[in-house]
């Protein structure tokens, strides 16, 4: 046993089943102390389950767990914490209307009276903030914090409980690139202070950038554990999916035709009257993909909402197929569909799907009044289900069962349900927001191919994504948004520096690097650039 003492965690043959589903099968995973260990795998590969077992949230059916060379039976989460294992969940486990300090002491109060615990926690928090660069206002309410700050509270919670091993489940999924960079700096600090970090992610770039070793999981099993320096993203992707994956979407150059979607001088304010989109003009031609890049929160969401008819603009016009769209409140979105516009919303669970519906019900959501689903008010289940079954096959939606509740599909398959509904019909313009957010690699590849296929079929595609790689891989032209304005238009081949500058509001085309004052750069005016 002595030779294992350099291992912080050692899993030996851990298995776990939920009913008929084998979530983890005979998992062996040694994790060296003071290393950053990555776990990659597609959605449903069993990564989160495995970590929940390590954190005492579930009990393994069989197998052994060694912590610092000693065999342990982790009874519950408080036992895991005692053993120095802390976890930052994908969805934060914070009480929104508590202060940061109250959240940190919750469950580790120390005594019956709070006053003393809060005082001790305050000074401990100051120390942790100093040591790890984890600055958060201890008296702020959690609901007032940004997502990045809330994540810092979660990390503080774990450290406050004396965690030596920190498990982070998809920590960058909700972060902006800047916040993600900050998080990686925190990782460096943690590493320097001797902590062990287990990072669950599906972003291979992160694995390559910061981990020392990586375990690949597929269908509940460990495929392999490698040194990060001895592998490559292509190799990892292949191991994850079990077949070759084209990491870069293959596409030929487009053949843009007539203007199908025209946006003229669009300005949008949010419900609080804050201007979100400021005098934006551009157009999308048939047979091209126009990407809108930018850090999240620079007006892309509001732009999407207006173009899809969900909200009304303050000023400006939208033209589809040469017809001006009249905004008529709630009816607008349906009207836009009649004009040939299809919309894949950014947040599939909020605006794209009803999670409690069966798959086929979501497959006709918004289109249920079409005559093919039955006459008048009576819905033909048969017609709808037959069509849903066809789409399931066409879009490779798994499991292939249109009677299954949508909530039971993985993120990638839920996204495919939305894509199938919006793409599998007559359309001229496709608006896609964050098509691969929270979607695994195999599905990303598929979704990208579908979007390119739409373009090749002569549709106009507007793609909005905060994943710069995705924008560059798919778009024919890229518009960069900052503070509600379009800063500039770039080609997808433009340099990292040009993208970086323009995403920070500086037009790299201008001679002096000064922030743009107005949204005067319109795509239409710069058409000749390419």
């Amino acid at each position: 046993m002595g030779q294992d003492s350099e291992l912080a965690i050692d899993l030996r043959g851990v298995s776990k089943a939920f009913g008929p589903v084998q979530a983890n099968k005979n998992i062996f995973m040694p994790i060296r102390r003071n290393s950053i260990h990555g776990i990659v795998g597609e959605n449903g590969a069993g990564k989160s389950t495995l970590m929940s077992i390590l954190y005492g949230f579930y009990h393994a059916d069989s197998g052994e767990i060694f912590v610092n060379g000693t065999k342990v039976q982790i009874k519950d989460s408080s036992h895991a914490l005692e053993l120095g294992i802390g976890m930052v969940h994908q969805h934060f486990m914070l009480v929104d209307n508590f202060t940061v300090l109250e959240n940190i002491i919750l469950g580790a109060e120390g005594g019956f009276l709070l006053a003393k615990s809060l005082k001790a926690a305050r000074s401990e928090m100051e120390r942790l903030a100093r040591d790890y660069g984890l600055e958060v206002d201890p008296d702020a309410l959690v609901e007032d914090l940004s997502v990045g700050q809330q994540q810092r509270v979660e990390i503080l919670k774990a450290l406050y409980r004396g965690a030596e091993v920190l498990i982070l489940d998809e920590p960058t999924g909700v972060l902006t690139p800047t916040e993600a960079d900050h998080l990686f700096k925190i990782f460096e600090q943690l590493h320097a202070q001797g902590k062990t970090i287990i990072l669950i992610t599906h972003k291979l770039r992160e694995i390559m950038a910061i981990t020392d070793s990586v375990s690949v999981m597929r269908r509940g099993e460990i495929v392999t554990t490698l040194k990060t320096s001895e592998t490559s993203p292509d190799n990892l992707a292949e191991l994850m999916v079990g077949r070759r994956v084209e990491m870069d979407a293959q596409k030929t150059s487009g053949d843009p035709q007539k203007k199908v979607l025209e946006v003229k001088g669009l300005s949008v304010t949010d419900e609080l009257g804050v201007p979100r989109v400021k005098n934006v003009s551009f157009d999308v031609r048939a047979g091209e993909i126009v990407g809108i890049a930018g850090v999240a929160g620079n007006g892309q969401s509001q732009l999407l909402e207006v173009i899809s008819g969900m909200t009304e603009p303050l000023l400006g016009e939208i033209w589809i197929n040469g017809k001006r769209v009249e905004f008529e409140g709630a009816k607008t979105a349906a009207k836009m569909r009649h004009l040939g516009l299809a919309h894949v919303p950014e947040d599939r669970l909020k605006t794209g799907l009803v999670a409690q519906f069966e798959e086929w019900e979501n497959s006709i959501l918004g289109y249920s009044e079409e005559p093919k689903y039955g006459a008048g008010q009576i819905l033909s289940h048969k017609a709808a289900r037959e069509e849903a079954d066809q789409r399931i096959e066409k879009f490779d939606i798994r499991p292939p069962n249109c009677r299954l509740k949508t909530a039971n599909f993985s993120g990638g398959n839920q996204q495919k349900i939305v894509l199938a509904r919006e793409m599998d019909r007559e359309l001229d313009v496709l608006i896609v927001g964050q098509p691969t957010r929270g979607v695994d690699i195999g599905a990303i590849e598929f979704i990208h191919k579908q979007i390119i296929a739409m373009r090749d079929a002569g549709k106009a595609v507007l793609l909005v994504s905060v994943e710069l790689d995705e924008i560059r891989a798919l778009s024919d032209r890229v518009l960069v948004m900052f503070d509600g304005k379009i800063v500039t238009e770039l080609t997808p081949e433009a340099s990292e520096r040009e993208f970086g500058l323009s995403m920070a509001g500086v037009d790299p085309h201008e001679e002096e690097s000064t922030p743009v004052a107005t949204g005067k750069v319109s795509a239409g005016a710069k058409e000749g650039v390419r």
Partner: protein, 323 residues
Amino acid sequence: MNFFSDIILMLDSSVRLAVPILLAALAGLYSERSGIVDIGLEGKMLGAAFAAAAVAAVTGSPWLGLLAAIAVSSFMAMIHAIASINMRGNQIISGVALNFLALGATVFVGHSWFKRGGSTPNLSTEARFSPIELPFAEQLGGIPIVGEIYEQLISGHNLIVYVAFLAVPVTAWVLFRTRFGLRLRAVGENPKALDTAGISVTRLRYQALIIGGILCGLAGAYLSTGQGASFSDNMTAGRGFIALAALIFAKWKPVPVLWTCLLFGVLSAAQIRLQGVEFPLIGEVPVQAIQALPYILTVILLAGFIGRSVAPKAVGQPYIKER
């Protein structure tokens, strides 16, 4: 009789009328703060009122009556706990079922036990909670205003009244100053946060419901052995629901609960005073309309002046560990 002592008398009866609602509202506060909807306050109170009166009638001891009341009410709280925590049933349905159970069972057991059509025999003074004279009440009563308030308003209530009013600061202290309170508030907002911190959601919710059961027991015993001297059919008369309304009106906070319940007490007392009074212009108002006054005002206050009252976020949702 001067105007001042009229006011004192009315306030005195306001206090008496507010007590059962206050205790029930505090019971609801513990339960709902833990994330369990407690629409069964009415039923628990009714069951407790019957148990107190019946046991006090048989044994002659209000203390044994109180014990029985707490036992019955806690037992009912445990039925609710099993249904809504372990079985993850619908908390509204479970609570409503308890209300009906209490309504039927008290009359049924009462009738087969005492043969008085569901009521219990009248209790002698020894079998009830009698008024407690606070020290020097009589001597100080001679002092105008301050002394009168002390003698007539503050002194001379039974034990449960004092317990009820003491329960308000105690609850505030527990909720905001102790570990248990922090966890209780957290479990009603985001039970997962507690579960992942290694604390049992189930245990915490059971504790909250037990406290609620005890408080409802006190409320019931007060009705039948403190304020009244016997149990009668449906003697809670909707006080449990008023308590629930008061709880929402007070935004699930202990001190505002006290003021809301006192307000309802004042309205009820005013209602009694106004019966048979000739109003200028209108004349005598039918007694039913006057009796409805506190309820109408409650509705208006609740609907019109409540503002934003945000319930604990997890209230009503059974906690299920996610896969």
